[in-house]
């Protein structure tokens, strides 16, 4: 597995991150040894193995459909970087 320029461009897009010129220069070489380990990982036969998303089996949880207090909206809104009244303010999403 190697990271070519085009792939790195796509990864930045997926991640919503823009690396600096300096970071772009060193990233492929730095992660090279780790990607070599991932090639080893990919070669392991795992036919019929479902995979575990967590180390222990987890069960879904339900509760009674009754109204319970939730976190006060003011407490949440006060952390918003930009707000307008009881709304969080954001740049226009659709032109």
């Amino acid at each position: 597995m190697k990271i070519e320029d085009e792939l790195l461009e796509r990864l930045q897009e997926y991640s919503r991150i823009q690396l600096t010129k300096q970071e772009l220069e060193i990233f492929p070489a730095e992660v090279g040894p780790i990607l070599a380990e991932m090639d080893k990982l990919m070669s392991q036969k795992t036919d019929g193995v479902r995979g575990m998303g967590s180390p222990r089996v987890c069960f879904n949880v339900f509760r009674e459909d009754v109204v319970e207090p939730s976190t006060a909206s003011n407490a949440i809104l006060k952390e918003a970087p930009a707000r307008q009244g009881r709304h969080i303010r954001v740049p226009k999403a659709v032109e």
Partner: protein, 481 residues
């Protein structure tokens, strides 16, 4: 003022209960040490001086009234990693992204400690979102090792090792807590995944991380675990399974020694010698030791890393500059808001984890799914292994990490230094680290015990018996100043 420095948390708790020491005296003791040592250690990001003193006053009233609900650690001053939320108290996760974040809720672990009588001194430094070797990547500067400040430490470990706090909580997502504890001569306990609630803990790697405890002794760690563990309806991954934490006899305890760990390339001979020497001492105390093989050992580390990166990229996608956290305010559209907020506020190391995570999740190779399958094979293999032995003994790190001044690649260092800590994260195993000597370079060395899920009791039996038998030093005292 009484000198409380050489006391364990349990010993101090007993003196407070008997009213031989007051809660305020204990806090003043810690604050005075922090004033002297913090310029060198930088363990704390936030010190709650006035709150600690007022909480100590309130706690003393409960002690004086003979309140039976108080725990054996009531009134003992402690520290919390800045990954653990306390309502309205700044919680940064070690990141500029959250540098002004005040959570609207408190973590379950803090609520349970507070009920038991904990007195908080402040919030400690950590690797950004808990992902690093041992504290180096904290956006506000790393905590330093009291033994040699060329090395960074997780802040919770630095606070306990430096005598500033009697115990602390941290998050063990990539093993940084255990690695730090090993290099600082203090004990640590990582419980079975799902034993302790992660509600209110800043997320990094959900299926790998667990709240861990740092203490001067394993007995201190065990008492803290008793306070914080248990099912939490706010964290659906907490288990209903009862923890088997009763102590048993050391006689005949079966301990496996993974050959592959002790003979791997790059294994520091000094660390190996000290850990094997400790193993011999455990044999002298009644344990039975024998070599074991770990399941697909070459793939444990890459599987753990692929899952860590994948989960980090998913968890950290929430930092979009909109609902909380840093927000770039010189942007023209939504896309730029996302990109500039994240690029400016997330640290260099975390960006690499996110990029790699998106690679492993989205490209056709799909390492993440493969890693989940390897995890299942490892867990199955461990089920067989733990039929033959009660626990595994290993070093904590293969070598002393490079000092900060050499500016190593943190990503590669983290990968390499996770060689022996990754298994517990991947398979959700309980683990303890126990100091067992010193390296020729002067830093402490520890060994690690990993047990079967919910088998904390046997780990604690062995660790406590060892610590009681060797007459260990509880704190480094006035090392260097």
């Amino acid at each position: 003022m009484k000198n409380l420095e050489n006391l364990t948390a349990l010993e101090l708790g007993e003196l407070i209960r008997r009213r031989a020491v007051s809660c305020e005296e204990a806090v003043h003791h810690c604050l005075e040490l922090m004033e002297r040592r913090e310029p060198r250690l930088s363990a704390f990001l936030e010190i709650s001086r006035e709150k600690a003193l007022s909480d100590a006053k309130e706690m003393q009233k409960r002690v004086d009234a003979g309140d039976q609900t108080l725990s054996p650690l009531a009134g003992v001053p402690m520290a919390l990693s800045d990954s653990i939320c306390i309502r309205d108290l700044k919680t940064t996760g070690g990141s500029r992204m959250l540098q002004n974040f005040h959570p609207p809720y408190s973590a379950t672990v803090w609520e349970r400690l507070k009920t038991g009588g904990a007195v908080l001194l402040g919030k400690t430094a950590l690797d950004e979102f808990g992902m690093g070797v041992s504290g180096e990547t904290c956006a506000f500067g790393p905590a330093r090792n009291v033994w040699d400040n060329r090395w960074a430490l997780d802040g919770s470990v630095a606070a306990v090792a430096g005598g500033e706090a009697f115990y602390a909580l941290g998050s063990d997502g990539t093993g940084a807590l255990r690695r730090s504890a090993a290099m600082a001569g203090v004990s640590s306990l990582r419980p079975t995944w799902g034993t302790v609630s992660r509600y209110g803990v800043v997320s990094g790697t959900s299926s790998l991380e667990q709240v861990g405890v740092v203490g001067r002794t394993i007995s201190d760690c065990a008492q803290v675990l008793a306070l914080i563990r248990g099912r939490d309806h706010r964290d659906s991954t907490t288990s209903q399974v009862q923890l088997a934490d009763e102590r048993s006899s050391m006689q005949g305890m079966k301990i496996g020694l993974p050959d592959c760990y002790f003979h791997q390339e790059g294994m520091d001979p000094c660390i190996k010698e000290r850990v094997l020497s400790a193993a011999k001492q455990l044999e002298g105390l009644g344990a039975v030791l024998f070599p074991v093989e770990l399941p697909i050992v070459d793939l444990i580390l890459p599987a753990y890393f692929a899952i860590a990166c994948g989960e980090a990229s998913s968890n950290l996608a929430r930092y979009d500059g909109i609902r909380y956290g840093y927000s770039a305010n010189d942007v023209e559209n939504l896309q730029e808001l996302y990109i500039q907020s994240r690029s400016r506020a997330l640290g260099n190391q975390i960006k690499k984890y996110i990029l790699l995570g998106n690679l492993f999740l989205s490209e056709k190779e799909n390492c993440y799914n493969k890693a989940l399958q390897v995890r299942e094979l490892v867990v199955q293999g461990l089920d067989n292994l733990f039929d033959r032995c009660d626990m595994i003994l290993s070093p904590v790190v293969p070598s002393i990490p490079l000092p900060m001044e050499e500016k190593p690649s943190q990503l590669l260092e983290c990968y390499r230094q996770s060689a022996f800590t990754a298994l517990a994260n991947l398979a959700g195993l309980p683990a303890v680290t126990v100091p067992c000597g010193y390296h020729s370079e002067g830093l402490p060395i520890s060994f690690q015990l990993m047990g079967k899920p919910y088998g904390e009791g046997k780990l604690l039996t062995v660790a406590e018996t060892y610590q009681q038998s060797i007459g260990f030093s509880k704190t480094p005292g006035e090392v260097g100043a």
